[in-house]
Structures are given as structure tokens and as C-alpha cells.
């Protein structure tokens, strides 16, 4: 019993160990290239399946192939906001600096995916619906999500004191996360009240397995890409924040020697 609790205490301490920027910095540096490699391989495989293996859609023709970028980007943009809010909450509760840095490292990638989803959606909408944009519930809430990302990024960049920037950003991320479902359902209701289901985003009921597998592979590629980019970005954040410490000096010297 006592050894068990001891082990658990040790284990939790070892997990908390990774919350120290000094410990996490080299780990992130070692993991990032792996994730980048995985992302590159999966993207090539996914796009190959998407463009050459998957059958042509009998209704939409070749245009539908934008789905292989559009849907993973949309998934990722929503997921990253939740992860961002999660790290913000962890940072506020546990008072760990790395959590705040992680949420700030994720935000630009989330905004990028959000933008990609909107852009590819517009390009897809023109040939299929005949318009680049409709005030459909999904499109509108995606646009508002982009605004939430931009607000978070602008706020954290506008505050010079990093401690205040961390906490203020965490609060707006949490307020946004609480509001995302409210925004989503209100926009959906607004849309259905106004124009009914004139444009429906529902796809063919059964999707060819090759299409689905291509999309899932692309989604995994987006995950790996996010890991890689977030790790690289968090490393720069750590260096910037900890530049006064001895270990950063030693680390940079060692890196300079290697080159």
C-alpha cells in the first residue's frame, strides 16, 4: 500500500517534471522532426489516395476532392481551440508556465487551419452551390472561430508583460471555449429560421472507403503537422522567455558548437 502510493507520488512527480521548460525544451526539439517527417509521409500518401485512387464523385465530379484538405483542416481548427483552452485552464489551475506557452504556440496553427477550411470551402462552394459564401450555420461559426483565434493572438501579443499576457490570454480562451457551443447553436437556429435547408452540407449517405481512408490519413497528417509546428514554436517561446537563465546560455552555446 505504502509502496503503491509512493510509486504514484513518484510517477506524478516525474510527469510534472516535463512541465519545466528546461526539461521540455530538448524533448520537444527531439520529437518535432519526427512529427514533421510523419506529417510529410502521411500528406503524400493521403493526397495520392485523394487525387489518384479515390473514385470520382458521381454528383460533384472531381471538385469534391478538395474534401481531403477541407475536412481535416476544419476538424483540426476546432480541436486545436479545445486543446488551447485545455492548456489555458491547466495553466491557471496548476500555475505552470509551459501550459500557457503551449496554448500560445497552438493558436497560430489553429487560426491557419481555420483559414484554410474557410478558403477551401469557398473554392468548393463556387462550383457546387454557385456561390463562394452562404450564411450557413457551419460556415458562420467557423468564421467566428477564426475571429476568436485572432482575438486570442492579438491579446497575448499586445501585452508586454509575459505573466499578464499568459493569464489574460487564458481567460479569453476559456470564455471563448464556453461561448463556442452557444455561438454554434445560436447560429444554427438563426440560419434555420431564416432560410431553411436551402443549402445542405450533408454528403452522400455512404462514403466510399477509399475516400474515407484518404480523409482520415490527411487528418492524421494534420495532427502530426500540428505537433511538429507547436513543438517548434514552443521552443522559440521558451528561449525567448528564459533567455536570462544559465541553461539557455549553455544550450545555445552547445548548439552553436554543433554547427
Amino acid at each position: 500500500m505504502t509502496t503503491d502510493t509512493l510509486n504514484r507520488a513518484e510517477r506524478s512527480r516525474s510527469l510534472f517534471r516535463f512541465a519545466a521548460p528546461q526539461v521540455f525544451y530538448p524533448i520537444a526539439g527531439r520529437l518535432a522532426p519526427w512529427f514533421a517527417g510523419i506529417a510529410a509521409v502521411l500528406t503524400v500518401v493521403g493526397l495520392y489516395i485523394g487525387f489518384f485512387v479515390a473514385p470520382t464523385d458521381f454528383q460533384q465530379g472531381e471538385v469534391y476532392r478538395v474534401i481531403f484538405i477541407h475536412v481535416p483542416a476544419a476538424w483540426m481548427s476546432m480541436l486545436i481551440y479545445l486543446v488551447m483552452a485545455f492548456w489555458a485552464a491547466v495553466g491557471l489551475v496548476m500555475n505552470t508556465r509551459l501550459s500557457f506557452m503551449m496554448s500560445q504556440a497552438l493558436a497560430p496553427t489553429g487560426a491557419m487551419f481555420c483559414f484554410v477550411a474557410l478558403w477551401t470551402g469557398a473554392l468548393w462552394g463556387k462550383p457546387t452551390w454557385g456561390t463562394y459564401w452562404v450564411w450557413d450555420a457551419r460556415l458562420t461559426s467557423q468564421l467566428l472561430l477564426l475571429f476568436l483565434y485572432l482575438g486570442f493572438i492579438a491579446l497575448t501579443r499586445a501585452i508586454e508583460d509575459s505573466r499578464r499576457a499568459d493569464r489574460a490570454g487564458a481567460i479569453i480562451a476559456l470564455v471563448g471555449a464556453i461561448n463556442v457551443p452557444i455561438i454554434y447553436f445560436s447560429v444554427q437556429w438563426w440560419n434555420t429560421l431564416h432560410q431553411g435547408a436551402s443549402v445542405s452540407l450533408t454528403k452522400a449517405p455512404s462514403m466510399a472507403t477509399t475516400m474515407l481512408s484518404g480523409m482520415l490519413i490527411m487528418a492524421l497528417a494534420a495532427w502530426a503537422y500540428t505537433f511538429a509546428v507547436a513543438f517548434w514554436r514552443v521552443r522559440s517561446l521558451i528561449l525567448e522567455r528564459e533567455r536570462h537563465t544559465d541553461w539557455v546560455g549553455a544550450e545555445l552555446e552547445a548548439e552553436a558548437k554543433r554547427q
Binding site: 467566428l144 476568436l148 485572432l150 492579438a154 499578464r164 481567460i171 470564455v175 461561448n179 455561438i183 445560436s186
Partner: protein
């Protein structure tokens, strides 16, 4: 109970008194609301049917922008003269006096809009039966805007370019209020009844009243730390 009500009323009275002493600031918000609403006919043309159709949306967007315009004043003066720090140091719970400040702010900037809105709606030839719904939706919705905006105002306190940043932060959060507020009038005119919209707005107000003072208190502590 009285121990909570006392400080609440004291802060409320103080803020209302300060607003009364600087009446011009308050009138500017109202004037902005009126001017923005009156600009729309110049933009979209004086065709009555069209004006009637866009009236609820125009009034709501104008109310939202006027709220936004006055938000930065909510804590700025107290931040500059140090009152805010004294309040934060006081033993009274922060969410309590934050609520009092937001309430005073709403009485000063939100309530005049609610009172002026029916008159402006007549300029857009809105059916008289819908005026009550419009007023009620604004009366329920503008306090939500003030409460949500207070969090943004606290987060951007004392920042360079805080005003623009504040707009970027809170405008996406205002969207549900705008949808249900303007939607209430449309639903009434469309014949489906505005009950659902008004109930949702009232629910949103209660939710915002319960949650935002705490977020705002946390944001203020971060800002003056």
C-alpha cells in the same frame, strides 16, 4: 445579506454619481447610437419596405456598437486614479462590486438606448405592435453585452490600442445576443411569437450574471498585478 448589499449599493451610487457629474460623456454614447441608426437610410435608400425589414438588425447592431464604444471607460478612470487597486484590496468580494460597476455602467449607457430605441424604430416605420418586443429584447440583451464586454474591458485595461483590441475580443462573443435580440422582433412580425427568443435572452442574462463577474474579477486581478 445587508453586509453584501451595503458595498454593492455604495459602489453603484458612487459610479452613478460620477456619471451624473460627467453627463456629456453619457450623452455622447446616446448621440452615437442615434446617428448610426440614422445613417442607414442614406446607405440603403429610403424605400420604406426595405427599411422596415432591416430595422431590428440596424437598431441591434447600433446598440452593440454604442456599447462597445463606451466599454473602455468602465474601468479606465478607476485604474488611472488607483481606485481600482483600493477596491481590489478591500475585503469585499470582487465579483460583488464588479457587478455593481457593470450595473451602473448599463444604467448610464444601456438604459438610454433601450428608451430611445422605440422612437428610432418609428423612423423605420416598424409596426407599433413590435415596439414592445424590440424594447424588451434590448432591455434583456444590452445588460448581457455590458457583462461580457466588462471581461474584455478588464483584460485590455491599460493596453496600447486597447479599444480596437477590445472590439476584436468581444464582438464574436456578442453574436448570439445579436441573433436572439434581432430575431425576437422578426419572429414577432413573422407571427411565430417572440417568447422563445426572449426566454433565451433572459436565460443568457442570468447565465452571464452568474459567470462573467468572476471572470471579470480574475481579469482585473491580472491587470493590476
Amino acid at each position: 445579506m445587508n453586509s453584501l448589499l451595503g458595498p454593492f449599493l455604495a459602489v453603484l451610487r458612487r459610479d452613478l454619481m460620477l456619471a451624473w457629474r460627467g453627463r456629456a460623456d453619457v450623452l455622447v454614447t446616446l448621440a452615437f447610437f442615434v446617428v448610426v441608426v440614422c445613417l442607414f437610410p442614406f446607405g440603403v435608400g429610403p424605400e420604406t419596405n426595405q427599411l422596415r425589414a432591416i430595422a431590428p438588425g440596424v437598431l441591434w447592431v447600433a446598440a452593440l456598437l454604442s456599447t462597445l464604444l463606451s466599454l473602455h471607460r468602465l474601468f479606465a478612470q478607476d485604474h488611472i486614479d488607483g481606485t481600482l487597486e483600493q477596491l481590489l484590496l478591500s475585503p469585499e468580494p470582487t465579483p460583488l462590486w464588479v457587478t455593481a460597476k457593470v450595473m451602473a455602467h448599463w444604467i448610464v449607457t444601456g438604459l438610454p438606448l433601450v428608451i430611445a430605441a422605440p422612437g428610432l424604430a418609428l423612423l423605420f416605420d416598424v409596426e407599433q405592435g413590435a415596439l414592445g418586443v424590440l424594447t424588451l429584447s434590448l432591455a434583456l440583451g444590452t445588460p448581457i453585452l455590458a457583462l461580457l464586454g466588462a471581461v474584455g474591458a478588464a483584460l485590455t485595461l491599460g493596453l496600447r490600442g486597447g479599444g480596437v483590441l477590445l472590439a476584436l475580443l468581444v464582438l464574436p462573443l456578442f453574436v448570439p445576443v445579436l441573433i436572439f435580440g434581432a430575431g425576437a422582433v422578426d419572429a414577432h412580425l413573422g407571427g411565430t411569437g417572440a417568447d422563445a427568443h426572449l426566454l433565451l435572452l433572459a436565460g443568457g442574462l442570468l447565465g452571464a450574471l452568474a459567470l462573467t463577474p468572476f471572470a471579470c474579477a480574475a481579469a482585473l486581478r491580472i491587470a493590476v498585478e
